[in-house]
Symmetry: C2
Subunit: 337 residues, 2 copies
DNA sequence: CTGTTAGCGCGTTCAA
DNA sequence: TTGAACGCGCTAACAG
């Protein structure tokens, strides 16, 4: 293995000079800089990130913390997209990244978690899929011991940024579009539209804003709205739809998975009402009907999250970032790959 | 951060003694061993894996190398299950693991890849989703510079093990079951059964064994078999089924995704013939019909892969490992979560 | 502008 | 059975 020492020798300079060139320090003559760079190229030198992490305080080592198990399998796609975006960005920014699951932290208190991360020289963490019941992890974030970026959790402090779409507006938008598509019915003297809103679990941070978005739309359009908690579960959404859905004009679901459940319930009942979802996962198409949904670009969100984390680790202060969302209509034919 | 030095001081012994206790060296008196262990517990000491990796040769650092992008999104589930199993096991075995994508290695030759891993003190690699076109990675494996475990690639050497199910037998089994379910038709004087086999891409290592399994079944049951290459694509399978499927008794697909394509083509043509798939992904259910498939436990495969890698890194020699598969029948109702 | 040096936390001889 | 001391590859003062 070729080390920094070899490069120094090859270039006829001191080790520290190589290090300085590597990190773009000022006060290096153009001459030695090129000398060192050619030596690096000739030897195919790659800095040892482990040694670097050990030696410096700002190791540039980060962790992706997620909880894929708690989710249904159908949601794997979301986490995979997160991971792809995050890991790609980490590589681009030359950050060492490890992927961790919530389950590994189970039973630890804040102090233990802190030691755990410190023992790996981790100084920054991106957290995907945290809910209100992950209180110890939230405590850890609050300590400010690590730079953190939270996905879909609206909390910030000096060392913590949050990043998400505007769930309130997104829910409003997709429900509005779906309902207005359906306006003709309304005009046939149908009275106020009857809506079934299947919300997510109350432990989810996105649940309240999405519900708010729906409520304000309901007020605006004077909708007759029934709100039920589907716990982000396809099965629950299915049952709720069987129970309350038959006489509704539109069914609005706070997730694609629940939208699938609702859609299938309607198919079983042999009625059809518009359904809309949230997330924009590919899976959608398989119900064989079309529906509107809020499309989030998880890859891009994760990519930005890592960029933001890097910013935090350089001493910038935490902030809230809103990403754009879009509305899409998914058909079966579209998703044929 | 509490270091080994603190533990040594707290226990009143030398640093090296603590290290020896940590690694279960012999020749440590029971007395000092407990003294050290209580000190560790009292201080909540966690060894710094970075320092350890730097200091020792056998760092215990491993990489998960996969290629999720090349796959269709619907396959994310498989990779997520792999990752879950692998990361869980790595944690259990106290191995530091990083997740890498093939794309990061693009353009590198073997020497560059070697340096790349060495620069991260990585000594073991688990590779998921490699195809015959990833020749440079295969070269890397062949050098024996790293301990490797290959998933679904039948290659072994001194430092490389392979792990997979028996694809030949699995394909045989699932096709056989699906066809025999259909035997009544045959007995109504229907002549030899007509089968459409939609195979995978020839760059896939699993394609040939699956095809073999199908061929030997065809011979055994004297089937009239048509073989087409679906390239593991839903769309291709759909088109092939539209073209060749209408007069077939059974359609056998080398992946679930292709089975979905085939199933949907049949639905469009308004005919129904049994279809079987391969993999056992949850997604299946959404076609709304039932079908047989080979279920692989990806989590478990990955878990075993990491165990095997650990074995290799301890100097054991490479070998081939076969995992069990099972046959399942998937219905829509089953997958409601 | 460049080189010398002291650690980072730990594993591992080699003496004691 | 234990401990002192060196080195892993690198960063970061500090001298020069």
């Amino acid at each position: 293995m070729v080390s920094i020492r070899d490069v120094a020798k090859h270039a006829g300079v001191a080790i520290s000079t190589v290090s300085k060139v590597l990190h773009n320090y000022p006060n290096i003559s153009e001459d030695t800089r090129t000398k060192v760079n050619t030596a690096i190229r000739e030897l195919g030198y790659i800095p040892n990130s482990i040694a670097s992490a050990l030696s410096s305080k700002n190791s540039g080592r980060i962790a992706f913390l997620m909880d894929p198990k708690r989710q249904t399998q159908a949601i794997d796609q979301v986490f995979m997209q997160y991971l792809l975006g995050a890991i790609d960005c980490a590589k681009e920014m030359d950050l060492d990244a490890v992927t961790l699951f919530f389950s590994m932290l189970e039973g630890m208190d804040v102090a233990a978690m802190t030691r755990y991360f410190l023992a790996q020289n981790i100084t920054g963490i991106v957290i995907f899929g945290m809910t209100k019941s992950d209180s110890t992890i939230m405590e850890l974030v609050e300590t400010g011991a690590f730079s953190c970026v939270l996905i879909d959790v609206p909390y910030t402090n000096e060392k913590t940024s949050s990043i998400s779409i505007d769930h309130r507006k997104a829910q409003y938008d997709v429900a509005r579009e779906t309902i207005l598509d359906n306006i003709p019915k309304l005009e046939k003297g149908h009275g106020p539209q009857k809506i079934l809103y299947i919300s997510g679990n109350e432990t989810g941070y996105v649940t309240a804003p999405r519900l708010e978005g729906m409520k304000s739309l309901a007020e605006e359009l004077k909708l007759d709205i029934t709100i039920e908690n589907g716990h982000f579960s396809e099965k629950n959404a299915r049952e709720l739809t069987l129970k309350y859905g038959s006489d509704k004009d539109v069914i609005v679901c706070a997730s694609d998975l629940m939208a699938i459940g609702a859609m299938n319930a309607l198919i079983d009942m042999d009625v059809f009402h518009p359904v809309c979802g949230f997330d924009g996962i590919t899976l959608m198409g398989y119900v064989g009907k079309q529906m509107n949904t809020v499309k989030q670009d998880f890859y891009s969100i994760a990519h930005h999250a890592v960029e933001e984390l890097s910013r935090l680790m350089q001493g910038e202060t935490g902030r809230e970032i809103l990403m754009p969302h879009s509305l899409v209509r998914m058909y079966y034919k579209d998703i044929i790959i």
